[in-house]
Amino acid sequence: MNQEIVLGVYVFIMAIFVGFEVISRVPSVLHTPLMSGTNFIHGIVIVGAITVLGFADDGFTRAIGFVAMVLASANVVGGWFVTDRMLEMFKRRPEERK
């Protein structure tokens, strides 16, 4: 194994702990936005899609990369907007109510 992979595994394990730590503080009221929010975050594969498509120099890779790009950007954009729409609905008690 080379050094880069060892570093990757280190970071991977640390991320597990950070993930559990942060997520366990999310109240159940927000579990649906948590799911759509994490959905948005795994849209980060768009970075992979851009890399593949951006460096592609044959038809097959271009085609695969293009489809990946479409899927990943739908994931990113859709995930973000739907999370925002939901979080906007969570409001406190309006002041004017008697």
Partner: protein, 462 residues
């Protein structure tokens, strides 16, 4: 253009910090929306940095693909109904998993034989998990959208066949890792993984969807993380694992709230578990008492504290707005109103909260199970609307009951209980509910929406 890998690495670190902060902000509804913006900023940094890498070409395809995906995403996100949120989440989950699998395939194609051992392992994992997540999510979507029957689809030898397909995919994966450098082997692996994804979600019933969606969410996160190992990208590794952790936690939480192991949900095909237990009930001559909207209105008017217990039946009847109106009416009379939300109320984790928030119920009235349970003994009226198994006291008292041990809302401890229900039919688990026979319980039969509308009129009149 950025050519220094250190600069790229640091910019990606900014993205990682943004993502973690976004999740951190989700710890309270007050800051949650701000958090989503922070996460969005992180994504913009990541995408901009990647686009600025030295040597990126095929700009036409990148922009076109990005535009098509974005338009689909925005339109989908803007138009989806809140009741349809589980299938929307399933869909976004699936496309993310699909993208991860395709990136792995493309990397394999480009590398043509010069892959290090750990790279090929990552490619296999990314393709395998990503494909299962894609196909599984599409089936979950179809079931929730009712394109497919929501009931479990089962046949003889199902688990054995599923395992055989998975083993087949694993065998191809091992061949690749062992050094077989043929693209059709990876394509075959993806096809088998897709088949497995379809087959493993088919037998799972609609009410078990909270567990499945959480699990698929974790899968896509892990697939993204595996893609990170393929591309040597710490950003993908961390972001993917954050999602993996979240999905795993929610999966365990949902399974616990349903009193079942994750394995039982996935392989148990619930319909079969319950047979044989239903006969255990002793008929002790007690009968449920029916009531009228007028009587309930009087009961409510004299209450000091009312707790609404909504189940999925409420959402099916689209009665959220009416419930909120009723609650406001009661509050105007000085009555304290809260909502008791069971973790599996709805079709995905936290679904009922979103549905009530959409109906403008303030979030400080939405109480989690652990928070509201000690308050039931001081509750004058508990109003159970379209919920059944999650308020069944047999879960506490009857070790023979299939739901024994499931955490429930202690509605039976309230001073009086009104259950709104279409009929005496048992709930999803097919178990009789003793709550309906308790002396403090009365039943208001009928469609939830009609009943609440009548109730509003009666409360206004009283």
């Amino acid at each position: 253009m950025i050519s220094d890998p250190d600069v790229v690495g640091l910019l990606y670190l900014v993205s990682i910090v943004c993502f973690i902060l976004a999740l951190r902000f989700l710890s309270s509804p007050k800051h949650a929306r701000k958090g989503n913006w922070v996460g969005g900023a992180g994504m913009v940094v990541a995408i901009a940095t990647t686009l600025a890498l030295d040597g990126i070409s095929n700009w036409g395809l990148i922009v076109a693909g990005g535009l098509i995906g974005s338009i689909v995403g925005v339109v989908g996100a803007r138009t989806v109904k809140m009741t349809a949120m589980p299938q929307m989440v399933a869909l976004f989950n699936g496309v993310g998993g699909g993208a991860a699998a395709l990136v792995a395939l493309a990397e394999f194609h480009v590398s043509s034989g010069d892959l290090a051992g750990e790279e090929i392992v990552s490619i296999v994992l990314s393709a395998l998990i990503g494909s299962i997540s894609f196909a599984g999510s599409m089936i979950a979507f179809a079931k929730l959208q009712e394109l497919l029957s929501g009931r479990p689809i089962v046949y003889a030898g199902q688990n054995i066949l599923n395992i055989a397909v998975l083993l087949g995919a694993a065998a191809l994966g091992i061949a690749l890792i062992a050094g077989v450098d043929e693209q059709w082997v990876l394509v075959g692996l993806i096809v088998l993984a897709l088949v497995f994804g379809v087959m493993f979600v088919l037998p799972i019933g609609g009410a078990d969807m909270p567990v499945v969606i959480s699990l698929l969410n974790a899968f896509t996160g892990l697939a993204a993380s595996a893609t990170g190992f393929v591309l040597n990208s710490l950003l993908l590794i961390v972001a993917g694992m954050l999602v993996g952790a979240s999905g795993t936690l929610l999966t365990l939480l949902m399974a616990k709230a349903m009193n079942r192991s994750v394995a039982n949900v996935l392989f148990g095909a619930f319909g079969q578990v319950k047979t044989g237990t239903a006969a255990a009930r002793v008929d002790d001559g007690r009968t449920a008492r029916a009531t009228s909207a007028e009587d309930v209105a009087v009961q409510l008017s004299f209450a000091r504290k009312v707790v609404v217990v909504p189940g999925y039946g409420l959402a099916v009847a689209q009665a959220q707005h009416d419930v909120r109106q009723l609650a406001e009416l009661l509050e105007e009379k000085g009555i304290e109103v809260a909502y008791a939300i069971h973790p599996v109320a709805g079709r995905m984790p936290g679904h009922m909260n979103v549905l009530l928030a959409e109906a403008n119920v303030p979030y400080d009235q939405l109480k989690e199970m652990d928070e509201i349970n000690p308050e039931f003994p001081q509750t004058d009226v508990a109003l159970v609307i379209g919920a059944n198994d999650v308020v069944n006291p047999a879960a506490r008292s009857d070790p023979a009951s299939p739901i024994y041990g499931m955490p429930i809302l202690d509605v039976d401890k309230a001073i009086s209980v009104v259950v709104m229900k279409r009929s005496m039919a048992p709930g999803f688990a097919g178990i009789d509910n003793d709550l309906f026979l308790e002396p403090q319980t009365t039943m208001l039969f009928g469609n939830a929406k009609d009943s609440i509308v009548k109730l509003i009129a009666a409360v206004k009149a009283s």
